[in-house]
């Protein structure tokens, strides 16, 4: 058996590369369409703003000198890299197709987010049982499009299982009603 050449990976043959790309493209058909140059510019701008703000913040912390690095030196260096790279991205990244458009189904994610925040907010007030029950139910019924019946059964079952595992078996001090 001949020794396999590890550099083969670098030049993995073109036919294969194409095939992989084709397959990946096929799998991504279900993805929403890409969102175009404006979203690319927006992404680069957000990164740019983060970089600029961090650079200002770290400059204010004090850079010190190389013999005596101040607390701001390292974050300042990173911020400069972010600023430079996001500028490059802003200029060269217009034609990228890796952003995803927000669609109607993004609303589902927004709903999901609301349930998460509600759980976190209600947890210390009324314990974990009711918020968890609501969360699982909403997710099953409206986000997952399960039937009413299975949504009710599964959410009650799941929360009961959590109660048994977390509270009774592992005795984790979760805030709770019962």
């Amino acid at each position: 058996m001949s020794q396999p050449d590890p550099t083969a990976s670098g030049v993995a043959d073109a036919g294969l590369q194409e095939e992989v790309e084709r397959l990946q493209a096929e799998m991504e058909e279900a993805r929403p369409p890409h969102a175009g140059p404006i979203s690319q510019a927006a992404a680069a701008l957000v990164a740019l703003v983060v970089g600029v703000l961090a650079a200002i913040g770290s400059y204010a912390l004090g850079l010190g000198r190389l013999t005596q690095p101040g607390p701001g030196l390292w974050p300042f260096a990173i911020s400069v890299v972010i600023v430079v790279l996001s500028l490059v991205l802003l200029v060269t990244g217009r034609k990228l197709e890796d952003t995803e458009r927000f669609s109607k189904s993004s609303l589902l994610t927004a709903v999901a987010l609301v349930t998460l925040v509600a759980l976190a907010a209600l947890l210390p007030v009324i314990g974990f049982e009711i918020p968890s029950l609501l969360l699982t139910f909403v997710w099953l019924r409206w986000l997952g499009k399960e039937s009413w019946r299975s949504s009710i059964v599964i959410s009650i079952g799941a929360v009961a299982a959590f109660y048994v595992i977390f509270v009774l078996l592992l005795q984790i001090p979760l805030p709770r009603l019962i």
Binding site: S9, A14, L66, I78, L135
Partner: protein
């Protein structure tokens, strides 16, 4: 080589609790490999709070089991549904699904399982022999070497991962930035805390990992498309015939070596090695046109290689303290949580962790072989579970788990915050992986760099004149400049293989 610590390591693994955690780990790994939605990274992130309460050795044994177990499970969906469960199983789809269509799904799964087992085991033997040597070599690394290695690790993972590399490096830099939040250990100054007491302690690794890896993936999957789930192809006899084994033998051997070698490289890992192994087999084959039409080697090679790579990617983590990919970054973080600093001292200071984890993989692979051949039917049945039912349960585990770490609602909000950040990053084409990896390495890189500057008396050229850190930094420059170099080089286009194009046409009717 002194083998008594290795034998002691087996003693550690064979303790009933550790065996149990190993079993739990590989079962979870198999399951999430089979189930759509969560990958091993997300799963490990979500389960981090659990590892808080258990013994370090058991915790890492379990997490490692999830990681390599997922490589076995990912094969099943590739072959039966044409949906690669893991990126590293993408190439398996070509011949695996072709075999399934010919009614030979069982053969494909059986060969893949045997290949995975051989690849994994060869790689563990390599790990056993090589890891202590590398660790010994790295023992006299000083801060400059660590700073350079850390930067290289972050850069390689960003450069080789999927997606746009500019965006990946930006994400990594944001990770480095987040790592600076909190009190500066050198000067005591508070950085980016905005007067918040919570932030003064710095941002904890667990909520970041849970949010960016776990929750973001769930949020992203909600909106995605309730994909039509095909009903899986029928699995017949999983025991491959002698003829199939004979055909796959060479591919398994070469796949093991390729996987082992590429897995060691940071950022390389499973995906690259499965591609390389497939390419090598196709090149060597007497009738390359069989590939894509159900060649047994086309399943054996990538599946062997991805397992070998998954295992050998532990080498840089356990010997240098540099995670080779985002999932290794999570295991790195889990070790830190347990108060264990991964690095060259690991093998001498915590031989039980070092050898316990490595040796658990021998056992784990045997367990996985049993689960993938005689028990494969059980996992095939799990394919029918709808993702919609799993999502809320995983979310509950995530949020309540985050709370249990410190009994603070603040941590739940952090997880939600990072979950949203990760979701938005995905929408805008940024991978969260490099961010998490950079966050994990961030404080190490910073403190090593600053210590080095103190050693050098403020002269940054000191990094370049030390042989090892200089070499590593040279590699950093090459990796960073690689896209430019490649543009400058004249392109040589390999002549298209005639068989290739016919087949592609045939595949897309």
């Amino acid at each position: 080589m002194d083998i008594s610590p290795i034998l002691n390591g087996f003693g550690v693994v064979l303790e009933p609790t550790n065996l149990l955690y190993c079993l739990v780990g590989v079962i979870i790994g198999m399951l999430i490999g089979v189930l759509p939605g969560l990958g091993p990274g997300a799963t490990i992130a979500i389960l981090l709070p659990i590892t808080y309460g258990i013994d370090p050795v058991s915790a890492i044994i379990m997490l490692a089991g999830i990681f390599y177990g997922a490589q076995y499970g990912g094969t099943i969906t590739s072959v039966l549904l044409r949906l690669p469960g893991e990126a590293s199983s993408v190439v398996t789809v070509f011949d695996g699904f072709a075999l399934a269509r010919q009614g030979r799904a069982g053969t494909a799964l059986g060969i893949a399982a045997i290949g995975s087992f051989v690849g994994g085991t060869v790689s563990i033997i390599g790990l056993t022999v090589l890891a202590p040597v590398v660790a010994g070599f790295a023992l006299d690394f000083g801060p400059p070497e660590y700073a350079a290695l850390g930067i290289l690790g972050v850069l390689l993972v960003s450069a080789i991962g999927n997606g746009n590399r500019l965006k990946a490096v930006i994400a990594a830099c944001v990770g480095l930035l987040i790592a600076t939040v909190g009190r500066d250990t050198f000067t005591g100054a508070e950085r980016f805390t905005f007067g918040s007491l919570n932030l003064a302690e710095g941002i904890d690794f667990i909520p970041i990992a849970m949010g960016l890896f776990g929750l973001s993936e769930i949020l992203y999957n909600i909106e995605e498309r309730h994909n039509q789930v095909h009903s899986p192809a029928k699995v017949g006899n999983v025991w491959p015939s002698r003829k199939d084994l004979g055909q796959a033998k060479g591919a398994i051997g070469r796949g093991s070596l390729i996987g082992f070698l590429l897995g060691v490289l940071p950022g390389g890992g499973a995906v690259l090695s499965s591609l390389a192994a497939y390419a090598v087999e196709k090149r060597r084959a007497k009738q390359p046109e069989r590939f894509g039409r159900g060649a047994v080697e086309g399943v054996a090679a990538p599946e062997t290689a991805n397992n070998a790579a998954a295992t050998s990617s532990f080498i840089p983590l356990l010997t240098l303290g540099i995670p080779a990919n985002a999932t290794m970054a999570l295991i790195f973080g889990a070790l830190l949580i347990q108060g264990i600093q991964p690095g060259p001292q690991l093998v001498t200071e915590h031989p039980d962790v070092f050898w316990g984890v490595i040796n658990s993989m021998y056992i784990g692979n045997i367990l996985l072989l049993i689960m993938s051949i005689p028990m494969v039917g059980v996992f095939v049945r799990i394919l029918r579970v709808r993702p919609a039912i799993l999502a809320p349960i995983t979310v509950l585990i995530t949020l309540l788990g985050a709370y249990t770490v410190r009994n603070q609602v603040y941590d739940i909000f952090l997880v939600i915050g990072f979950g949203v950040l990760g979701y938005l990053m995905k929408k805008f084409g940024f991978e969260p992986g490099p961010l998490v990896l950079a966050f994990v390495l961030g404080s190490m890189i910073e403190s090593s760099a600053r210590q080095s500057l103190l050693i050098f008396g403020g002269d940054p050229t000191g990094f370049l004149t030390r042989p090892i850190s200089g070499t590593v930094l040279a590699v950093v420059v090459i990796v960073a400049a690689w896209p430019l170099i490649r543009k400058a080089l004249p392109r040589k286009k390999p002549a298209a293989v005639p068989g290739d194009s016919d087949r592609v046409e045939e595949k897309t009717p």
